[in-house]
Amino acid sequence: MSKDKFTTLKSQVVPLPSENIDTDQIIPARFLKATTREGFGDNLFRDWRYDPAGKPVKDFVLNNATWSGQILAAGKNFGSGSSREHAAWAIYDYGFRVVISSFFADIFKNNALNNGLLPVVVSDRFLKTLFDTLQQKPTTVITVDLEKQIVEVDGRKENFEINPYKKDCMINGYDDIDYLLSLKKEVNEFDLAHSSI
């Protein structure tokens, strides 16, 4: 499906400095039973956000009024584990448009990009600066400029890498299947050539 277009975002940031946040933390398996893409945001970080009785955990960042914004900043190796795209859907559905970390798991990164959620990879140092800045001033607004591939915190800038094709898709709201459908003739030939397998 065509997605929202993304160019630049200025927003406050929600910090989650834990490392190795896996997809079971982002959206536990027991909440993967929907047959549509919507509504997963309600259970984003479910077991950190609510206690076993279903009451919000007061200190958790999503329940704490100190923190808000469309950008999530997380410790390294974010999104490891399962290939469930529901993780990207949940983050997007909650209202985030960007996730910043110093390292993303491969499948999660792909899934995020396929859903208009921008994964921004920054250096460990920049990430620490970001967390420190937010600690001192939680209302800090940062800028993520996809066209220039720059993230800026309090005047400090860092460039981030993104594949040119994926960047194009994000900026224009394209998705992969449009491109793949245009290759039908070539794929047909492959299908025949590989039929003996």
């Binding site: 499906m1 400095p17 834990s18 490392e19 190795n20 896996d22 079971d24 933390q25 536990p28 398996a29 027991r30 993967l32 039973k33 929907a34 047959t35 549509t36 893409r37 077991d47 076993p52 410790g75 390294k76 190796n77 490891s80 584990g81 399962s82 290939s83 469930r84 795209e85 529901h86 990207a88 390292f103 798991a105 491969d106 499948i107 792909n110 899934n111 396929n114 859903n115 460990d124 620490k128 594949n163 040119p164 094709y165 998705d175 992969d176 299947i177 491109y179 793949l180 459908l181 290759l183 039908k184 070539e186 794929v187 492959f190 299908d191 590989h194 003996s196 397998i197």
Partner: protein, 470 residues
């Protein structure tokens, strides 16, 4: 013309690139696509919205595994949302003309177990599934990797995915495994050495004489957990062990077609002089029965070791996450797990629920009884595994031991169905992930081999399997 030497990964990848264009990821042709009830419904919806069908229905196979009950599978699924997901899969397979091995079908089972046992998984293929443990299939010498639902839709609609070619990593293991050490220990050992993100961005090829001596089942366990170190996938070049396993399987090439296929498959090996982006070497003699103590599969150790102290961590920045993880597990840094009482034993999952795993468990528990403090679930990987286990009388051995042999599914590996480890309880599990809440909210998981899990079931405690009579 002198051809550049290539790795097996590059050979298979390059022969499946439909289109390579500047600035674009490769459009990769997919030979085999597996789907299940959890990650496919939104993909079929996408096809409907676009008004397109499935490109080639013969290349996709479906089964119900992730959220199915492991008891009373002949009855309607009690849990409404799970039932709806399985029913949706039925409708989608019917509407789009895809073969479904539904509950009750003799071929039903965990998607990564039925592919190989039906001969759908073959050397040289590209294989995808909306599940990260698709890497399992790589044991046959193919490129197999997990994808998200948007990509499931791409494959259904176009038989291709857009992918960047991963970097290559060779992991070579040589030498003889010690007593009580099995393939699960090899992979847990490797992950403990290189961390849960140590292979991110890479596709791994496992080589070395230790790997060559392993059965197909054991190889699948290793490839299965490639994703747990972040790898895109993992593979093992095919050999006689592979061909023997495939021969005669339901959907494998038969007769002269099989002989021809073998000639092709024999060429699937890394050329001498081919370059890998990274090479790691391990000695099998250094590997011992392993156990994890934390909340990611990289947090593992020899069962006789102590949990590291905060001071022993490589990076100071890791301390907070490490501490959080041990708090969750209810464990102290610097302590040993040996002798720690456990509550549950889960033998199952795409990692360790094949017939060989069940046989291994049976050898350990034959004539013994489980400890009174533990509950033991054995969830076979497929209907065929279940049938075979019964045929061999393993079910009787399990029954005498007080183990419960149930029906196939993913079960307590991820707790999507009723099989959940209760809050705060410890489970020794033959599955692949020890994440917080993975086996149920607040559950605590120790990952180990089927042999170690069986030993713990008997003693009721974390046990060094080498001390048990084998």
């Amino acid at each position: 013309m002198i051809l550049e030497p290539k790795t097996i990964f590059e050979k298979i990848w390059d022969s499946h690139v439909v289109k390579r264009a500047d600035g674009y990821p490769d459009a990769l042709f997919i030979d085999r696509h597996f789907i299940h009830e959890v990650t496919s419904p939104q993909a079929f919806d996408g096809l409907r919205k676009r008004g397109i069908g499935v490109f080639n229905t013969k290349r996709t196979t479906a089964t119900a595994d992730h959220n199915v009950p492991t008891k009373d599978q002949h009855l309607p699924i009690k849990e409404a949302l799970s039932r709806r997901q399985v029913e949706t899969l039925r409708t989608n397979c019917k509407d789009f003309g895809i073969e479904l091995y539904d509950l009750g079908h003799p071929f039903q089972g965990i998607v990564h177990i039925i592919g190989p046992e039906l001969g759908l998984t073959l050397p040289g293929m590209t294989i995808v599934c909306g599940d990260s443990h698709t890497s399992t299939h790589g044991a046959f010498g193919n490129i197999a990797f997990g994808i998200g639902t948007s990509e499931v839709e791409q494959v259904l609609g176009t038989q291709c995915v857009l992918q960047y070619k991963a970097k290559t990593m060779k992991i070579e293991i040589n030498g003889t495994l010690g007593k009580g050490v099995v393939s699960k220990d090899i992979i847990l050992y490797i992950i403990s050495k290189i961390s849960a993100s140590g292979a991110t961005g890479y596709f791994v090829e496992y080589t070395g004489d230790t790997i060559r001596k392993l059965s197909m089942e054991a190889r699948m366990t290793i490839c299965n957990m490639s994703i747990e170190m972040g790898a895109r996938g993992g593979l093992i070049a095919p050999d006689e062990t592979t061909f023997t396993y495939i021969k005669g399987r339901k959907f494998a090439p038969q007769g002269s077609a099989f002989d021809q296929a073998i000639e092709h498959w024999k060429k699937l090996r890394t050329d001498d002089g081919a370059r890998y982006d990274k090479v790691l070497t391990f000695d099998a003699a250094d590997i011992a029965p392993m156990i994890t103590y934390g909340t990611n599969p990289g947090m593992g150790m020899k069962v006789t070791d102590r949990i590291p102290t905060l001071a022993e961590l490589k990076e100071i920045s890791e301390q907070a996450s490490f501490k959080k993880s041990l708090d969750y597990m209810g464990l102290e840094p610097g302590t040993t797990l040996l002798g720690k009482a456990i509550d549950y034993v889960f033998i199952g999952s795409c990692t360790n629920a094949r017939i060989e795993d069940l046989r291994l468990v049976a050898t350990m528990v034959k004539g013994k009884k489980k400890a009174s403090n533990v509950e033991v679930w054995i969830i076979p990987g497929s209907k065929q595994v279940e049938e075979q286990a019964r045929k061999e009388g393993l079910d009787k051995i399990f029954e005498t031991a007080g183990f419960e042999l149930r029906s196939p599914g993913c079960s307590a590996c991820l707790g999507m169905n009723e099989d959940k480890v209760p809050p705060g309880k410890y489970c020794i599990s033959t599955s692949n992930r020890n994440f917080e809440g993975r086996q149920g909210p607040q559950s605590r998981t120790f990952l180990a081999s089927p042999l170690s899990a069986a030993a713990a079931a008997i003693t009721g405690r974390v046990t060094d399997v080498r001390e048990m009579v084998l």
